[in-house]
């Protein structure tokens, strides 16, 4: 396993890796989704979900830090034995593929309804998948560099939304506290799907150069940055649309930008969408990378590059099947539900096992 861990990434790059993985498809729909549950107080729900994610992050790091020299897939073998670990690892592999397929489907839906209604589905999907395959074939430090590079585009994603404030009605955010705690939690649940991506730390922790404390600090910055972007986007949308209107608009962030025009840029929403495509691609890349990392454990190291190609073909092929909006929504909800198992359930059980077995990690494994 040694060569695998050679390509180290710096602790600072972890910030961009997490942020770029988290921010993706969901930023467009999040305001409407949380509004459906918590109305104009949805932004509080996002903060609640953020607190939850922060706890999970600390839990993850305390788990993977015990196995600093192992990837997640080899760690499970040590913790729960070979037969069980095969099942767990394989289900993570399927989970990553499911998420990539979901990203691809949702991406196509948005592009088809906003930008290219006539262009065939496979072209739009093949374009983004080929870009993802092209990069994911490279090593993690190359991917990290790319994410760092494209992160400057986030400024544009945030900046463009400021135009919404020219027609903002601050009273739309009041009154506060008009719903019960259950509604806040439902909103938090709805926003959790947008947060997905922080679980990346479970899988790339051994690649990171840096002390545990520093990694914890920087990855926390990353998730709070993402939450900041989400809260900002949601508040902007809540201020711009009236409450009865926002429920009609599935993509409030994009829709809002359609209302503005300037002599230089006629359609701000189209600018936004082209920048947003990159954020979506990076999320897709991360999950494709994680899936290919699994194949590295199953097959030999050298096969990862070609595995990426076939995995790309596979997700493209499956994603082509989803046609109706209902099927996509059902699929999306399904992924939202199963993600709890993968981001909360399994890591939590693993941590408990690790705690019970008390540091079996380093010395023991090397001796065996």
């Amino acid at each position: 396993m040694e060569p695998l861990l050679n390509n180290r990434i710096s602790a600072k790059q972890i910030f961009f890796l997490i942020v770029q993985t988290q921010i993706g498809i969901a930023v467009l729909t999040l305001p409407a989704r949380v509004f459906a549950e918590a109305e104009w107080e949805g932004w509080i729900s996002i903060l609640i979900a953020g607190g939850f994610v922060q706890c999970l992050l600390i839990l993850y790091i305390s788990l993977v830090h015990r196995f600093k020299d192992h990837t997640f897939f080899t760690m499970t073998r040590i913790l729960i034995g070979k037969p069980l670990s095969v099942v767990v690892n394989f289900s993570y592999f399927i989970y990553f593929l499911t998420v990539t397929i979901l990203i691809l489907t949702l991406y196509y839906r948005t592009i088809a309804s906003w930008l290219f209604p006539e262009t065939p589905k496979w072209i739009i999907m093949a374009l983004i998948v080929s870009a993802a395959v092209f990069l994911v074939r490279e090593d993690i430090h190359i991917i990290a560099r790319f994410y760092t590079l494209v992160s400057c585009l986030l400024i544009l994603i945030i900046g463009v939304q400021l135009t919404g404030y020219t027609a903002a009605q601050p009273l739309y955010l009041l009154p506060l506290g008009h719903i019960g705690i259950a509604d806040y939690l439902k909103g938090a649940d709805a926003s959790l799907q947008a947060m997905l991506g922080f679980e990346l730390i479970l899988f790339i922790y051994p690649f990171i150069q840096g002390a545990k404390k520093e990694v914890t600090k920087i990855s926390s910055y990353a998730i709070w940055f993402t939450i900041g972007v989400y809260v900002f986007s949601s508040v902007t949308a809540f201020l711009f649309f009236s409450p009865d209107e926002i429920v009609l608009v599935p993509n409030p962030v994009l829709y809002m930008l359609k209302a503005f025009t300037s002599p230089v840029v006629d359609r701000l929403d189209l600018i936004f969408i082209s920048v947003w495509i990159i954020s979506v691609t990076t999320s897709l890349m991360t999950y494709l990378f994680l899936a290919s990392q699994y194949t590295q454990v199953i097959f030999s190291l050298k096969k990862r590059k070609s595995a990426v190609f076939y995995l790309g073909l596979l997700i493209l092929f499956i994603a082509l099947f989803f046609e109706s909006n209902e099927a996509i929504d059902a699929f999306s909800e399904f992924v939202g539900n199963i993600s709890y198992t993968f981001i909360v359930g399994i890591p939590f059980i693993l941590l408990i096992i690790a705690l019970v077995r008390k540091k079996p990690a380093r010395g023991k494994e090397k001796a065996s």
Binding site: T119, I123, Q169, L171, P175, S242, A259, F309
Partner: protein, 370 residues
């Protein structure tokens, strides 16, 4: 592997030179202004589209104007495709005009087509026509720019002078759907063959229920604290002068301080809205030339304060007559008195709100003359 990927990339690039979603200018008719009217007799909708004719095909007309009937605006538009040689493209629309009759029923249904289409120009101006929208869209004035440009520019200039609220198709949508606030839309008519700005159409929910003149709109916008670059008001302050011109003063508002409060009298259930407006004005026309000392200045400002208080109050009454809550009082009750909001039906209560307008005029300048 590399060869396969390269081949794939080249293929994709070649295939993507814009086969499916490209829209060549030569294949489309760019619609710059559109009108939608109700056709009473047949329960149909009539749409009218005006699009500029490219210079090289130009005969005597500068614009091509077509109209057709249908059950919905989209249906009518599809019917039109049989009449024009190219596909109609509404992506560059500048003005959308709705007939009053249609707006009095419900403004949203005819607009659904614009809100739903990803290509539509939500930043286009929306206007209510006093009579038929078609009559205004149909205009081909020889001494003016194209009608679509003319109307769009007219509205834009009026917005800057606080004669009209800043609106477009999207910006009227939040108040249109807001239970605690209502929308207003520029209102136009045809006067001696020219498009003429009448003020704003007032809406109650999604129905047009009344209108304000341009001067009343300015006053309303001042009450909403929405002063743009300038706002001028002409007011009769004297009545005894022989020369009629000397009875009037024109002021330009430089600054507004507004204080709006919503209180609910627990005992009577009466909603009171004290609305205090301080106007800092510049006298830009006063033929009487009589502002050489402070006493006279004060006299004029208190005269103006009294007159404006009365007139602003009248505007609020007019809003209540149309049951149109443009000031967003309901929104404030929703935000600050939520339990009370849930008890009441705002549309029932609104007409009984007690507006207590108090305007103070402060003359800060009077040009380069006394």
């Amino acid at each position: 592997m590399r060869a396969v990927l390269t081949a794939l990339f080249i293929c994709i690039i070649i295939l993507n030179t814009g086969c499916w979603d490209s829209r060549q200018l030569r294949d489309i008719t760019v619609v710059k202004s559109a009108g939608i009217d109700a056709d009473e007799e047949d329960q149909l909708i009539e749409v009218t589209f005006a699009s500029p004719i490219p210079e090289k095909y130009r005969t005597t007309e500068r614009a091509q104007i077509v109209s057709a009937l249908g059950h919905t605006p989209r249906h009518a538009r599809d019917n039109l495709e049989a009449e024009v040689s190219e596909a109609l493209d509404l992506g560059k629309l500048r003005v959308l005009m709705i007939g009053k009759e249609l707006a009095s029923e419900d403004l949203y249904p005819p607009l659904d087509i614009v809100y739903r289409d990803p290509r539509s120009a939500l930043a286009a101006q929306i206007v209510i026509a006093e009579d038929q929208a078609k009559d205004i869209i149909d205009l081909q004035l020889e001494d003016r720019p194209r009608t679509s440009e003319l109307i769009a520019e007219l509205i834009k200039a009026a917005e800057e002078k606080t004669m009209l609220p800043i609106t477009n198709i999207q910006l009227i949508c939040p108040p249109l759907f807001d239970r605690g606030q209502d929308a207003m839309v520029p209102y136009m008519t045809l006067e001696e063959g020219n498009p003429h700005l009448k003020g704003v159409a007032l809406f109650n929910d999604r129905q047009m229920t009344g209108s304000l003149s341009v001067k009343e709109t300015t006053m309303l916008l001042l009450m909403m604290d929405k002063l743009q670059q300038t706002a001028s008001l002409t007011e009769k302050v004297h009545s005894g002068r022989e020369n009629e011109l000397e009875n009037y003063v024109t002021i330009e508002v430089e600054e507004v301080h507004r204080n709006l409060d919503v209180t609910i009298n627990k005992a009577t259930g009466q909603i009171e809205v004290p609305l205090k407006i301080d106007l800092f004005v510049n006298v830009i026309e006063y033929p009487l030339d009589d502002l050489d000392n402070e006493e006279k200045l004060n006299e004029l400002s208190s005269l103006l304060s009294r007159n404006f208080t009365e007139k602003f109050q009248k505007v609020t009454e007019k809003l209540q007559d149309s049951n149109s809550d443009i000031l967003g009082i309901g929104r404030r009750i929703h935000a600050y008195h939520y339990p009370y909001w849930k008890e009441i039906d705002w549309k029932e209560v609104y007409s009984e709100v007690d507006f207590q307008v108090d305007v103070t005029v402060d003359i800060v300048r009077h040009g380069i003359l006394f």
